[in-house]
């Protein structure tokens, strides 16, 4: 492992100052379940200067505001989200999704911010191949084994899938991310935060956070009455694994009539993939046992699987049918 320096700032402003000083050589260190593994695997792209934000005390909380929305500090552990009564009562689908992220041990260490902004888990990147995200100019996943960790919906230079589950589950609630930047506070939707395969500061990354910016919190608006949501995830093993395909779906219901819908697939694309065609299809429909079959007929029409991962699309469609069936039960 290369030599690293760790800073322990006590405020967000101080952290931003340190990040600005070291440029892309520095990285935010919170739970460490992604960053430390990249260092251990000797990845060229891993930072040399770690800015430990665990020592900043106002980044770890779950609190409700006066309007009934909930704000979660970026350094809050996933286990704390999973155990939160408040989140369980207001957004049970989010808690269900968090409980399906890796293992209990890792949820005790991983943070919400880390899950949202984690690096991809492509085996070629993690194996130290000189790919787009690791100092090179080629995607080995596009030409190698792409059955698990690569996009079936096309790519932009890098074909790895966005691995996080929290973002997929937060989008149906129209959650927003707050970032501290040298210019002040910035607010983005979760979709804007992780648009997939972005070129930021000369790097390919799944999110838009610049080298000198810090994700500080996520705000989830209050759920409207009649909102029902479900999270489904398929993975090679019951714990540990990332999604082969996942689905977060929410329906705004009036009786059995769908007034609004959010359909977000995970594990199939370089970003949480919002399937707006299915959302439009569902609007105005009556929730019924047959709706799933009808919905999958219009889903993911622009799929572009690689050689070995067409099955991800079948899985995603299957999840759509089972998710709708679950919400109808």
């Amino acid at each position: 492992m290369k030599k690293i320096s760790i800073y322990r700032p006590s405020t967000v402003d101080e952290a931003i100052q340190i990040l600005s000083q070291h440029g892309t050589e520095a990285g935010v260190y919170a739970g460490g379940t992604d960053l430390l593994i990249r260092l251990k695997n000797r990845l060229h792209q891993a930072p040399t200067y770690l800015v430990d934000i665990k020592t900043i005390d106002n980044l770890r909380y779950i609190k409700e505001d006066a309007q009934g929305g909930v704000e979660i500090g970026a350094a809050t552990k996933l286990a704390e989200l999973a155990d939160s009564r408040l989140l369980q009562d207001k957004y049970p689908m989010l808690v269900e999704a968090v409980n399906k992220i890796s293992s209990p041990e890792l949820r005790n260490a991983s943070t919400l911010g880390g899950d949202l902004l984690q690096e991809v888990w492509c085996q070629y990147l993690r194996g130290g191949y000189s790919c787009w995200r690791n100092g090179g100019y080629l995607c080995y996943g596009a030409i190698g084994d792409n059955s698990y960790y690569h996009s079936a919906m096309g790519g932009r230079l890098c074909y790895a899938v966005y691995p996080g589950d929290a973002a997929t589950a937060l989008i149906p609630f129209d959650a927003r991310a707050k970032l501290a930047t040298p210019q002040g506070l910035k607010e983005l939707s979760i979709e804007q935060l992780v648009p997939g395969d972005m070129m930021v500061d000369g790097r390919i990354q799944s999110h838009v956070v610049r080298f000198n910016e810090i994700l500080t919190s996520v705000f989830i608006p209050p759920p409207k009455p009649g909102l029902r949501a479900s999270f489904e995830k398929l993975r090679p093993r019951g714990v540990w694994d990332f999604a082969m395909a996942s689905l977060a779906i929410s329906l705004q219901l009036r009786g059995k009539t769908i007034d609004d819908a959010r359909v977000v697939f995970g594990g199939i694309s370089g970003k949480p993939y919002r399937e707006t065609t299915v959302e439009s299809f569902l609007k105005g429909k009556t929730l019924s046992a047959e709706l799933g079959e009808q919905a999958i007929s219009v889903a993911l029409a622009n799929a572009a699987p690689l050689k070995y991962n067409a099955t991800k699309i079948d899985m995603a469609k299957g999840l759509l049918a089972s998710g709708l069936a679950r919400l109808n039960a």
Binding site: G136, L138, A142, G202
Partner: protein, 222 residues
């Protein structure tokens, strides 16, 4: 990698899928090559270039006419990739100079450019029939060297797109960055062993590739 200023393009395998048969037939009739034609038009083309280069003398007279007539067939049957026109237009907008640097004959290249309406995007055309005075011999890398010399383009600021091992080698001889067109994943996996400077799944990734290099150089300079 240095900021890229120019792109060298060979129509075969880079801008279009060519049939294998005509190149194989030239190899059979002029060089007594035996065996079946490769399924890949690019591979047959580069095999033919190997044979021409190994013979050590340029094609002339009837041999030249035969090769050119079969190349004309290949051009007529080539399927131009659908992203070629928008990508070339985008690259031109970005200020990237585009050159054809091909070991096809001039007549074949001219026909190809006309077929694809590519002329307006190109800053120069170099074929196996064009050599700068005193330029190195070698049918494979000579058009690349001629293009670089003719355009005063520094080789480390140029890319050559190719989908064969021979193309990678020719680019290295010319000093330009060989970029692998990963048209077929299995073939590309083998070719990645030849350590190209980069690789793209399709031509539409080239503008982003060049933008990334610009961003990386800017980030390093800061």
């Amino acid at each position: 990698m240095q900021t890229i200023e120019g792109l060298l393009l060979d129509p075969v395998g880079c801008l279009a899928e060519f049939p294998s048969g005509p190149f194989h037939e030239v190899a059979v009739r002029l060089f007594e090559r035996k065996g079946k034609a490769s399924r890949s038009g690019s591979r047959s083309y580069w095999h033919l270039l190997n044979l021409i280069e190994a013979a050590g003398v340029p094609l002339e007279g009837q041999r030249k006419n035969l090769a050119e007539s079969l190349e004309a067939e290949a051009v007529a049957d080539a399927s131009i990739y659908e992203d070629v026109l928008p990508v070339l237009a985008e690259l031109r907008t970005m200020g990237i100079r585009l050159f054809i640097a091909s070991s096809l004959s001039r007549s074949a290249v001219t026909n190809f450019i006309e077929r694809g309406s590519l002329g307006e995007f190109l800053s120069g055309i170099w074929t196996r029939d064009d050599r700068l005075p005193g330029a190195a011999e070698g049918v494979k890398s000579a058009p690349l060297l001629a293009a670089l010399g003719g355009a005063s383009l520094p080789p480390d600021k140029a890319m050559f797109l190719t989908d064969t091992a021979e193309g990678i080698k020719a680019a290295r001889i010319a000093g330009v960055h060989p970029i692998l067109m990963m048209n077929d994943p299995d073939e590309a996996r083998r070719l990645a062993m030849h350590k190209p400077a980069g690789g793209v799944v399709s031509l539409h990734e080239i503008p982003d590739f060049i933008r990334l290099i610009v961003a990386q150089n800017k980030s390093r300079a800061e």
